[in-house]
Amino acid sequence: MRSFTGNIVKAGFVLGAFCFVGVAQAATSDGALGDPSIGTADVQVIIDDLVQVTNLNGIDFGTYGGTLDLTGTDEMCIYRNGTGAYDIQLDSANPGVPGNEFRMISGANFITYQLKFDDDNDASDGTVFLSGDSLVNQAGHASATDCGSVDNAEIEVFITEATLQGSVAGSYLDTVTLTVSPF
């Protein structure tokens, strides 16, 4: 029996975009000598578009038992200030050429797998990605960077039994990069 280990490591990013032009301020003024004296100061804060993906974990399939498909999932939190809307792109560190399939590698050998993403807690009905694909206008958490401790997106990795049984023994690994940006 051939055995292998699949491992996916994912990376998240915090992205900021400077989209705002400074607003002219004219209200700051000293008070006059008198009773009373009234001074004013402008207060300004700039909040750029912000996104954050957190709570990412590796998907470790362990050692293949020789039968059945393998399915692994990981939930995560994606925060986007304001509307909550974001775009996401998924990339494999070892994409297939020229098909851009997601692949784990072990030396010169590889295993092709299917990756799905969904902006809820169930990626089984999510969108299938090829490496480099992106999805726009997904729904993130708009008021808490930790999503209120409730994850709001999920990826699913699926490897068919046939693929596994046809693979050379080894420890297979891929790194999936999730690039989240404001919609």
Partner: protein, 312 residues
């Protein structure tokens, strides 16, 4: 002895009677006091004038028809400089500038305390039949007023005219009064630009302020208001609002200012210069919490913080 006195008096009367014009006479009419009232800082420098009559003639005041020039002098009855003195226990003074104006020639001349001008001022006949011929003007520079402690101030002045051959003089006293009210000023206000939220950290801005108080204790109150609903400390962007916190340190440590709360007492104001000598006497600290910013839509949030300072 009685005969001798009678003889002298007779000779004097005789001299007048035959018109010996070498004799000159001086009489200074009443000089109105100069009451500046309560100084209003908005009026800046202040000035008051008093017009009066200086009779300066050859011969006797009552009968002469020949005027002769006179020299003018003003002295401070309490000190050499032209200064107002605080009434009461204070030792503070306000500097003055005193000017004589010849109302006939409309020629002003700034006076030096207790020093005569040249004997060129136009005299008048008795009771100034052509109109008053002399004016004393008192000027107080705003710079001398803004840095003066509150209180009532007075200068007791004496005008003297010298005429004839330089031996005839006439004088009148007058006074100048002003009230310096309780004043305070807050300055050195700067925009509090807190920068761009990094997604993690609170944004904090500190601005040094100058608070001046024209009273030795340097005590005052301060009240903060924002332009949010109910004067809340809020900044806004396109209808979205963010709260911010305001703290104030008069040198004794930061305390929180609550929008709309009664004014809080503070100390350590500068008591000598409205601009605090270029320094500061207090710090303003504004904080926007990260926990509020993460839930706010992107945008540039602005607002105006108003600090109202009053004397106590």
């Amino acid at each position: 002895m009685r005969k001798a006195r009678f003889l002298i008096a007779f000779l004097l009367v005789l001299a007048d009677g035959v018109g010996v014009e070498a004799h000159a006479d001086i009489k200074v009419g009443n000089i109105p006091n100069q009451d500046f009232g309560t100084w209003d800082p908005a009026s800046g420098s202040v000035s008051m004038t008093s017009d009066f009559c200086v009779v300066s003639v050859l011969g006797k005041v009552q009968s002469s028809t020949i005027v002769t020039p006179y020299a003018a002098r003003v002295g401070n009855r309490d000190a050499v400089p032209f200064e107002m003195f605080a009434l009461g226990p204070l030792s503070d003074v306000i500097s003055l500038t005193v000017t004589h104006v010849d109302l006939v020639t409309m020629t002003p001349e700034v006076l030096t305390p207790d020093v005569y001008t040249a004997q060129t001022k136009t005299g008048a006949l008795n009771n100034c039949p052509s109109g008053l011929n002399a004016r004393v003007r008192t000027d107080i520079n705003v710079m001398d007023l803004t840095s003066t402690p509150s209180g009532n101030y007075r200068a007791r002045l004496r005008f003297t005219a010298l005429g004839g051959d330089g031996s005839q003089t006439g004088s009148k006293n007058y006074q100048a009064d002003i009230v310096i009210p309780e004043l305070v000023q807050i300055s050195d206000m700067d925009p509090v630009n807190l920068g761009t939220f990094d997604g993690v950290s609170n944004l904090i801005g500190v601005d040094g302020l100058c608070v001046y108080r024209n009273q030795a204790a340097g005590a005052y109150t301060i009240e903060g208001t924002g332009d949010g609903a109910g004067n809340a400390f809020e900044i806004a962007s396109a209808g979205d609002v963010l709260p911010y916190q305001v703290e104030y340190d008069d040198g004794t440590g930061f305390v929180t200012l609550t929008a709309g709360a009664p004014p809080a007492n503070h100390i350590n104001a500068d008591t000598t210069a409205p601009d605090c000598g270029g320094g500061t006497t207090a710090d303003l600290r504004v904080t926007v919490l990260a926990t509020d910013m993460v839930s706010a839509p992107p945008g540039t949030y602005t607002g105006t913080l108003t600090l109202t300072v009053a004397p106590i």
